[in-house]
Symmetry: C2
Subunit: 347 residues, 2 copies
């Protein structure tokens, strides 16, 4: 069976093989395939042109050999890398989508994608913001920050909030949301530039460069002499162990990610979990997919905050599909400053 329309060439980034250890550009392959830009008669698929590709830490976990039980479906070697993105519909066999629609959701790392089950995509109806925001502030990372902070942690005015990887796609929003709730917010990041951004652009009360700290426990004690009520966990490892020593009674830890552990064969050991008891701490892992029903409510709030100038968002964009692999790897070297996006096309 062949799709309708002419075949056109389609630049693609394929996963070479399951990744072990630190991801490298050579784990991904540049190739050029072909694709028909019309869907088959009777199919409910859509064909999209990919505009912005989202580079997110969780993708590393989908590049692993699938273990049981899987975190999310693993990517398939020799197939396009999968991730969130913003795309334009070129042709649709699905009644909910039509040519010209803009969507965000899971797509492939290629110029054009045939999406067999478009029901999981979100249609973009507010276009008076940068479209790339739907890979970040108004997309999966934004909803992640919102769900993790509001739903999992429920911080109250006056509480203390600590965010790790705080200048990243999620962290910068967690901090700003927490400030809007009236919390005292400190973030950690991995460079002086990022620390400056946290304090001066994102309005955190304070921030520190974890790479400059010999003793993370001491650093946290300095920043939270009275302890931490809410920790938004993005990194895992020794930072988590130090945070556990500094949590207050009835503290909440939203476990969103553990980027420091993703490239290790065996995760580091966490030694201070007895504090969960002594401080009556709730530690809860979450995945944004469980909160998609909140997206309309979140979107309304975020759009309003943007309009009122209450939220800013920093993207780190790299031009060209061919540069998407290096963009992804920047996440694990900490080179990205803000939400990492690869631009395939602007329209």
């Amino acid at each position: 069976m062949s799709g309708g329309g002419e075949e056109v060439s389609n630049k693609q980034i394929l996963l070479r093989d399951y990744v072990t250890g630190f991801p490298k550009e050579s784990d991904m392959i540049h190739t050029t395939g072909t694709i028909r830009l019309k869907v088959e008669e009777g199919s409910k698929a859509i064909v999209v042109k990919n505009l912005y590709l989202s580079c997110d830490p969780y993708m590393r976990n989908r590049m692993k050999k699938p273990d049981a039980p899987p975190y999310a479906d693993s990517m398939t070697p020799q197939s396009p890398v999968l991730g969130f993105g913003v795309a334009k519909v070129l042709d649709s066999g699905h009644p909910d989508f039509k040519e010209g629609d803009l969507v965000w959701g899971t797509t492939g790392w290629e110029e054009f994608s045939l999406i067999q089950a478009p029901e999981s995509l979100f249609k973009i109806t507010h276009t008076d913001v940068p479209l790339s925001y739907y890979t970040g502030l108004l997309g999966m990372p934004g909803l992640t920050a919102y769900a993790g902070l509001y739903e999992v942690c429920s911080p109250k005015k006056g509480e203390t909030v600590f965010v790790s990887a705080a200048s990243g796609a999620v962290g910068q929003l967690v901090g700003q949301f927490a400030k809007l709730l009236g919390c005292y917010v400190v973030g950690s990041a991995g460079s002086k530039q990022k620390v400056d951004l946290l304090k001066n652009k994102f309005g955190f009360d304070d921030a520190f460069n974890y790479k400059d700290e010999h003793d993370l426990n001491a650093a946290l004690k300095r920043h939270f002499p009275e302890g931490i009520d809410v920790y938004f966990e993005n990194v895992g490892g020794s930072m988590l162990d130090a945070v556990l020593l500094n949590m207050r009674y009835h503290g909440r830890i939203a476990v969103c990610g553990m980027i420091s552990q993703y490239n290790l064969d065996k995760p580091e050991g966490i030694h201070n979990l007895f504090r969960l008891i002594t401080k009556r701490i709730r530690m809860e892992g979450f995945v944004v997919l469980d909160y998609l029903h909140l997206y309309p409510k979140f979107l309304q709030l975020a759009l309003q905050y943007i309009k009122e100038g209450k939220i800013v968002y920093l993207e780190d964009t790299i031009e060209g599909l061919e540069n998407a692999p290096s963009a992804l790897i920047r996440l694990f070297t900490g080179q990205n400053v803000g939400k990492q996006v690869a631009v395939v096309a602007n329209e």
Copy 2:
């Protein structure tokens, strides 16, 4: 200032010094002091005769040099060991207590205790059960099991529940409560005798001896092929790490204790916390002291279950105050079979 009445001799067990490593009988000192069995004029204290002393794992943590922040107040070297117990009021300056009242709560390891702030004691009004039950089933361990299971985990009918240290003071109740809720319940313990008790006396669906299992992950997979919904954590360490690999989506872990870690200088590392994210697990530490307001409701339920024969309770009693130190140490060697109690006097 001297108390009223004659001085009488008072056998006592003192803490020698802060304990490090595995507790030994020699960490406690036998001595004989004196006490007046009347309270001072105008005092709101009470004098009690101690009947049953409760031996509980958490006591080990109160024998440590106090760290910041403390778990519970550390005991004081050269002063009586502190713990829960059942006692009879000999004299009272407090309007809520009178001679002959039976109470349970924190007391000293000695024949007679002067309790300066008796407000924290519970008066025993139901005496048609063994009085020693107020150190276990109807006391702190019972309320711990109830609060941890009902309040922290909220298991639903048909869910799978795993309990470690399952034949202990708390574990045997957790399993029975969970069975009464309609759950599938498996427990682990450290001897064949305890495993038999779990299956045949306490009505667990299944049980295993963790000391016989080379691979705890495999043992849990065997007992929970579909995974664990609720884990009642009493032991910590490698069991916790194995449980994390076997939790189901949206599982709950009530962190009650980590007895395997209490005598270690540095707790073991836990490596599988990323599962909190992938399986959306909530892990929550709790301390029974936060649930004392539920005691009346719990007591009513437990008394009814006893009357209806729906709950059994196994105690391991040792006679004599002088044998209380060895009774306490039995908890850490796993020699106790059921709730460990030291009997000072029967009335």
